[in-house]
Subunit: 435 residues, 2 copies
Amino acid sequence: MTGNSLDRHVPLYAQRTAGMRASAVRSLFAVANRPEVVSLAGGMPYLKSLPLEAVAAEAAALVSQDGLVALQYGSGQGIAELREQICQVMSLEGIVAHPDDVVVTVGSQMALDLTTRIFCDPGDVILAEAPSYVGALSTFTAYQATVVHVAMDDDGLVPEALEAAIDSVRRSGRRAKFLYTIPNFHNPAGVTLSAERRVRIAQLCREAGIPVLEDNPYGLLGFDDTVHRAIRADDADNVIYLGSFSKTFAPGLRVGWVLAPHAVREKLVLANESATLNPPVFNQMLISRYLAGFDWQGQIKAYRQTYAERRDAMIGALTAHMPAGTTWTHPEGGFYVWVTLPEGFDTAAMLPRAVTARVAYVPGTAFYHDGLGARQMRLSFCYPTPERIVEGVRRLAGVLESELDVMRTFGTGGAGGTVAPRQVRGPASPSPDTA
Amino acid sequence: MTGNSLDRHVPLYAQRTAGMRASAVRSLFAVANRPEVVSLAGGMPYLKSLPLEAVAAEAAALVSQDGLVALQYGSGQGIAELREQICQVMSLEGIVAHPDDVVVTVGSQMALDLTTRIFCDPGDVILAEAPSYVGALSTFTAYQATVVHVAMDDDGLVPEALEAAIDSVRRSGRRAKFLYTIPNFHNPAGVTLSAERRVRIAQLCREAGIPVLEDNPYGLLGFDDTVHRAIRADDADNVIYLGSFSKTFAPGLRVGWVLAPHAVREKLVLANESATLNPPVFNQMLISRYLAGFDWQGQIKAYRQTYAERRDAMIGALTAHMPAGTTWTHPEGGFYVWVTLPEGFDTAAMLPRAVTARVAYVPGTAFYHDGLGARQMRLSFCYPTPERIVEGVRRLAGVLESELDVMRTFGTGGAGGTVAPRQVRGPASPSPDTA
């Protein structure tokens, strides 16, 4: 039995499952994970610079010294010591907060889920940047919320567009429950919200009675060591802040957090308990020991340097190889470059041909609720080495050239299956690539 | 700012938050966790028999040998090796399953959450034993489902009562989305579903088109080493099975799983990704190493022996000290005894007086959706030593005697605050108790 054709449970599923769909590119990414493919698709941090031996010793000490606590059930809000340390981490961004208002979650994805859970009934509106984080869009859809995208430019979310969106939603009789925004080194757009706009956007949302959900996984990964002031730093009452150790330490422990106004925090704790009883105690205590015993800010500096080199490699390769009319953002931190191809390209239709040419990316449509983004793509520079990044961009350029050839011949883009993968010509001399 | 009186977000919350309420006894349990109180309330496993030094070494080896995988993002379904081992664990209960149909979750609480998420729209009915697991009831309520309780007796869920409940729900025009059942060493009731009834209940549900959600955290903790055959073992198409390492290894890692028919499993993976991206890879790999490298079945035998001694201590103390007219179940495994007091008692109203007398339990009403259970309570024998259990039951008996005195004098129970905590007489000679 495969698929749903024989699924006797179909009459029993909740309505929300209609919005839960496997990504159309999921099967492709299984191929994209093969070592011969340069994946510019994933957002996996590059962990090789972690002090693994020291973390190993710390994990052992945790079990042997505090195992009866670390391996036991714990608090639905998270352990107190880690919540205090989280407040110290957030203070780097200008945030003054009390550990009582922090809730530890299974990655900040769970914080996204719980926040949506407590705010959104089916049909409610969530305002979000255009484009926006694919994992957030999928959570919002799972709660049957409607995403209304708000335009960005090189300085991030555009306040005038936000104002217009708030008005438009209000006029349509719907409710905007929050604004979801990634102010720093945006995923996927790679841009950063300017300081002036932060003030203006916080003000607009406060006046409209719409909380800001500030998602900040990359905030400490600014390549010139700049740490931008959080929106939350200047508005404790109307901003719900999401943080994560996935990019500054390691994602495999799944430890994130949410900082929320007191009454919201109370509801988030209840929702957290209902979802998981409590986040894993072991993971929280290991991160707490890491923060207490290691130069974690030094580690973040090492990450910044690694990613800055890779960003430079990617921007250099794009400049050298992309066809005329292609544009891209210039991230000052984080993991991603957002590329816009000339008219006629369809990055989703092109992806199988790119994977055949041994390079992968995420098509732009994944980052929109409404089908936009057809000639855009997200390129990640976090995981491959600079040499692999350059090779990947070169392969991608070869795929684009082939597409352009087809367009010149047939006067159409690759969409609609007019170009089958086997017709694709790869780069001139594809070399075996298993690094 | 405390509480919701000044909460500016009130107009923004989702309707489901109306069903998310802090337990009325939460603040009491903060007191109950003081060392001088014998807590017969919690369901914490007794971890002292774990091979902590060996687990510590395994955790260190995992980070230093496989840290780049263990600390990285992973699959939303869980790692393949652990899913294979989970199938081996389930084979002890007669289950034949493929690892493809297993989804690893953040404890089986998350599996409960995801299963409810994919099946239940607001107003849908979930059938559940009376009484039922408090954490499941809170999840069902968070999804705005309606719980319809089905009677149990000493042999577990009563098939005739199930049949009547199915009919009644159908006649009322509502939809029962699944039957939630804990067949082995029930939480809180302590009883086990007979083999004959398993067959009958599976048949009834199959005929009615209602899946069975079989929750089995305690199944391997039978005190006479009996492992009951799972309902899932004889019905792969209509049973969704939940398992957990929290009681057979350690809850602080939060690793549970769900085994589901293929099409349901596909939806659960999507929901898991939406909720957490993936369960923590480190935790899965550590448990996988534990299962591969240790005599985990020997560890389960050690747990069984510990809990059997404590069950005996509790049953002996109840027999020796409980007032006439009190009854209790006789668990053959698991963590819990379910106690029914004579007419007139109100265990929720009595709890503050019990905590004052330095003993804690969970009032019966917590385990019902509908306010029943007023003269019942759940006593846990998993965590305190046998000596502490005996002392706890003795203290509880003292509280019950005091209540009886009041009832004899005023002709009423302790409900409604007629007996203030300071009026409680504790056991004759309460000794300092900080063990």
